[in-house]
């Protein structure tokens, strides 16, 4: 349903993505982990052309795009088939929670304001923020803002939702509510690719965990396998580091 082939991205001399191949089935949940600066976020941003890949093929739903030759309509097509959740929420500051979610339906789908707002209210119900419909982002907590950010992505009814470290900018007290919402989406069979450092989330929710290092996919496997029996030394070394930090203190 989603297939990436040979996605390559360079910033000047530096190759950030070195020929990434990745495919997902409908309803599949992939968690991408790996050290900082290995191109995890860039990979997500290449899928909807927030960064333009230098080479590679992308297929999302019924749309196939050759990155090197992508025209504006291809890029818009990819963006309309995907949705993105940003690390810093990136809500529209001059619009209420309701308007943030309804914006895409009005502008991209051409719904009337009334219909869009009605549908946006349903989404607010689902994310448990119905009472915040008329609140502006500045008046919401980080956790609430990110849930609105996810609600905005849900409104897209996209083939896939791309999560770029959705809890990294949050105070610890808000992380749980955002992860809970993501689990709820996962239970509803929403296809998603999640870049995160939340290993517990990866273990519980992922169908497949992808480990990236140096702009390449080093290995990918179901979490039960990748966390307990990693094949590559780089994966082992990375997991040792992050899991040591996460482990409960020894008594």
């Amino acid at each position: 349903m989603i297939a990436l082939k040979g996605i390559t991205k360079r910033f000047g001399e530096h190759t950030v993505l070195d020929g990434i191949d990745l495919s997902l089935e409908r309803g599949e949940i992939i968690v991408v982990i790996g050290p900082s600066g290995t191109g995890k976020s860039t990979l997500l941003r290449c899928i909807n052309f927030l960064e333009r890949p230098d080479a590679g093929q992308l297929k999302v739903g019924d749309l196939s795009v050759d990155a090197a030759r992508a025209k504006n309509e291809d890029i818009l097509g990819l963006r309309r088939r995907t949705a993105f959740v940003f690390q810093n929420y990136a809500l529209f500051a001059h619009k209420t929670a309701l308007e943030n979610i309804a914006e895409r339906m009005i502008v991209v789908e051409g719904l009337s304001k009334n219909d869009a707002h009605a549908r946006a209210r349903e989404i607010l119900e689902r994310i448990g923020l119905a009472d915040k419909a008329d609140a502006y982002p500045a008046a919401l907590s980080g956790g609430q803002q990110q849930r609105i950010g996810i609600g905005r992505a849900m409104a897209a009814k996209a083939e896939v939702i791309l999560f770029d470290e959705p809890t990294s900018a949050l105070d610890p007290e808000w992380v749980e509510e955002v992860l809970a919402l993501m689990k709820q989406l996962a239970a509803e069979q929403q296809t998603m690719i999640v870049v995160t450092h939340e290993m517990q989330f990866a273990r519980e929710v992922a169908d497949r965990v992808v480990f990236m290092d140096g702009g390449r996919i080093v290995e990918q496997a179901p979490p039960s396998e990748l966390f307990t029996n990693p094949k590559d030394e780089r994966t082992r070394s990375f997991l040792r580091k992050v899991l040591a930090g996460n482990a409960p203190a020894a008594t």
């Binding site: 818009l76 940003f86 990136a90 500051a93 209420t96 897209a156």
Partner: protein, 224 residues
Amino acid sequence: MQALNLDYMLGLVPILLGYLPLTLGMAAAGMVCALILSCALAVIRVSRLPVLNQAAQVFISFFRGTPLLVQLFLFYYGLPQFLSFLVSINGVTATIMGLTLHFSAYMAESIRAAITGIDRSQTEAAQSIGMTNAQTMRRIILPQATRVATPTLMNYFIDMIKSTSLAFTLGVTELMGATQKEAASSFLYFEAFLVVAVIYWIIVEALSWCQKRLEKRLNRAYQR
């Protein structure tokens, strides 16, 4: 030292107020044209459109770099020499043109600053939901930039109202021109110019009051 001729001053007020519509009309027309032109210039500058961007830079540099009075004389007395259709240009039109070009250069820079001040991630968010660049500009960036730029733009409007007084050098009888004529026939220069100064002052104060109300309204979304 002689006392102020208060009767004369009071009598002058209604006469001068008769010229207020022309003064405010020139400022309003200049402001509307300048807003349109400066938004266009700012968008050209921000999106770095080739050729147009360089042209905009030269335009802005020229109109910020030369006095308004010089520009007015250039349009009114100078240009008709080469462009014969301008021979019939009247002082009011020339003033509005001059105010538009002069102030749009300044306003373009503050609008540009306001646009670039909007967090880049909001542009990305708009793009990520499939909005085109034009839609992003119109629905996400400009409304927020407007709020940031409003105080500065209001200051330019106030400045523009005062600058309409230069129209009298092009032979336009507006507020300042009328005062000059009255003063010349009564020889009560101090009284006449004091009255006109107070009139300008009151207009500006009224506008500043509106400005505060407007800013409060625009800041609604940002109250915690």
